[in-house]
Amino acid sequence: MSDIFSILDIRMPMSETYRLLCNRYGNGQGPRVAVVAGIHGDEFNGLGVCYQLTAFLNKLERENPEALRGTIDILPGVNAIALDNGSRYWPSYDADLNRRFPGNPEGSPPHRAPAALLDFLSGTDICIDIHASNIYLQEASQVRMLDRFSPELIPLAQHLNLQVIWVHAASTVLETTLSYNLNIRNTKTLVVEMGIGLRYEDGICTALFEGILALLKAKGVLANVDLPEIHAPEPPIIATDKNKDVHYFNAKHSGFFVSIAPLWVPIHPGDLIGYIVDPLGGKLLEEIKSPKAGRLFTTRPFPMVYEGSLVGRLLLDSDKSRGEAA
């Protein structure tokens, strides 16, 4: 049976104990896979994916226990105190946990939790770190990775039933994230970004859940098991900074942004992405139109913008980046 245990207990000043909880399926044998969510306390989609996984694996243990050939660790609530009140950062320290790796095992809580998590996950073969954007931007389901890790990560990411694989140039490296610290320690770590903060979006979470099962089956962690049908079998589009596959839309005016073009519908040159108005004076400040063809994989439902605010990202139409790059 699965085993729920804590990898770190931190006594809080009053009467509560913070616990970094893991639900482990399997007996530690075979390939080891981890699914991590809730590093940012305002991102809830990952918790929903974890629920779908734990419910599925509970049923599998009852009905077909032989199907599990590896070890699966599910950690849905890393930043448990923040998740409980919907704040992005670790409360009272205002600390971004995903800028605290590799952490410090002797530090204060927002340094100790990253250190404990990294230590626990070391030796894991594959880790999926699920994020849900922030409260401003809506993201198509995507995996983001650094160029230098992409040869090993792209073949894994292609199983995940997502829309985009976005390969970043080296200049954007952040050395203080979980994914960077795991990847340099040879745990192949996929950062999923999808949806928007403070929401649970069932459809995209189900798609990722199905994708994770497909990955588990492909890597031999699950065998002889009927998996749910994949709902969106279209392969992901690979976008790279190197090939300039992404066009950014930034506000030229501060104001109230009205988002028009939805995620992932075909965009033609001249199509309206959105417009910015002045609510007090009733003026139209700016219409934002696409200069090129493609699909929006980032939109901005949050209407307040300043000059320079990101209001959308367009994945440019291009045959070269379709699917086969790996």
Binding site: M12, P13, P279, Y306, G308
Partner: protein, 329 residues
């Protein structure tokens, strides 16, 4: 001269205006830049920088042979609402450097500050601690060159702390400046969220001594100020870091600036529910209380105090818990 170095409109409020003040000859050297308020809750730094503007405005041109640029309040919206980070998106402006002039607001703010520092020969970046800690006025620097350490002594503040940079400071204003120009100093004084008037006075007079030392102002300009103190130069091996051994309410027995002997009581951690003493904190070394926790609610391993050694360098320090801390980067 007062200059608007950035203006960004807002949808619902007045424009964001970032202001710099210029003193002296625009082509003179040295060019000392003074920046404060990168964090919107660090009022001590903003107040000290504003006082410098006030003092320099009263001088005659011949009293300023160098050039001085002051940006007293970078996080202007955060200062209006008492928030450390940029309030709109909770971004730490001091992690956005060197910035990007066409980017998000905090990137633009960082870029405009970077542009203002372009030909500065010296940088003074004034901070308070966060709201949990109180700091005796001190100079921190990243460059390990001894001439820079000597220059740091000219502030005449109690401590000069030579620090080693970590990955966490990769996009910090002063760290990036120090990679180009080593004469970069972070001043720390007091706590966020309040004015520690005596500490601010120390910082203002210290900057006056520094400006005189580097010949940005003429000798004798601030003749009525105190002469300051002989700085104790520290690196992290000369500091006793004191961490909470349990969670609870921290009740202090000392104050910042107090001399303390090895084994003396610093404070106790008490159960907030039944009053039991959960942990007793004793000083690991003989020295001066440089940093003290002022926010009483603590978790175990929270930083509670830093004791600056007053033993001679040759004297080996016995410290139970000695490590570079990550709290105040």
């Amino acid at each position: 001269m007062r200059e608007e170095i950035l203006r960004i409109p807002s949808a619902t409020r007045e424009d964001l205006v970032l202001t710099a003040f210029h003193f002296g000859n625009p082509t003179a050297k040295p060019h000392v830049a003074i920046v404060a308020g990168l964090h919107g809750d660090e009022y001590n730094g903003v107040y000290a920088a504003a006082q410098m503007v006030h003092r320099l405005t009263a001088l005659k041109p011949e009293q300023i042979p160098g050039r001085i640029t002051i940006i007293p309040a970078v996080n202007v919206f955060g200062l209006n609402t008492g928030s450390r980070f940029w309030p709109f998106d909770d971004t730490d402006i001091n992690r956005m450097f060197p910035g990007y002039a066409l980017g998000e607001t905090t990137q633009r703010i960082a870029a405009s500050v970077t542009a203002a520092l372009r030909d500065a020969t010296h940088l003074i970046d004034i901070h308070a601690s966060n709201s949990a800690l109180r700091e005796v006025p001190q100079v921190r620097l990243y460059d390990q060159d001894l001439s820079v350490v000597e220059e740091a002594r000219s502030f005449g503040l109690p401590f000069v702390w030579r620090r080693l940079p970590s990955a966490a400071v990769a996009n910090q204003m002063t760290y990036l400046f120090s990679k180009r120009t080593p004469n970069a100093y972070i001043l720390q004084a007091g706590s966020a969220g309040r004015i520690n008037k005596g500490f601010v006075q120390d910082v203002v007079e210290g900057i006056g001594r520094f400006l005189t030392h580097v010949s940005a102002v003429a000798p004798g300009t601030f003749a009525n100020d105190s002469n300051g103190t002989e700085s104790i130069v520290l690196d992290s091996t000369r500091i006793g870091f004191c961490y909470a051994l349990d969670a609870g309410i921290f009740v202090t027995a000392v104050s910042t600036g107090d001399p303390i002997e090895e084994g003396d009581l610093i404070g106790e951690i008490v159960s907030p529910l039944d009053g039991t003493v959960r942990a007793t904190l004793l000083s690991p070394i003989t020295g001066i209380v440089m940093t003290l926790r002022v926010s009483p609610v603590v978790y175990d391993n929270d930083l509670l105090a830093r004791i600056a050694s007053t033993e001679p360098e040759s004297h080996p320090i016995k410290i139970r818990s000695l490590r570079e801390d990550f709290e105040m980067q």
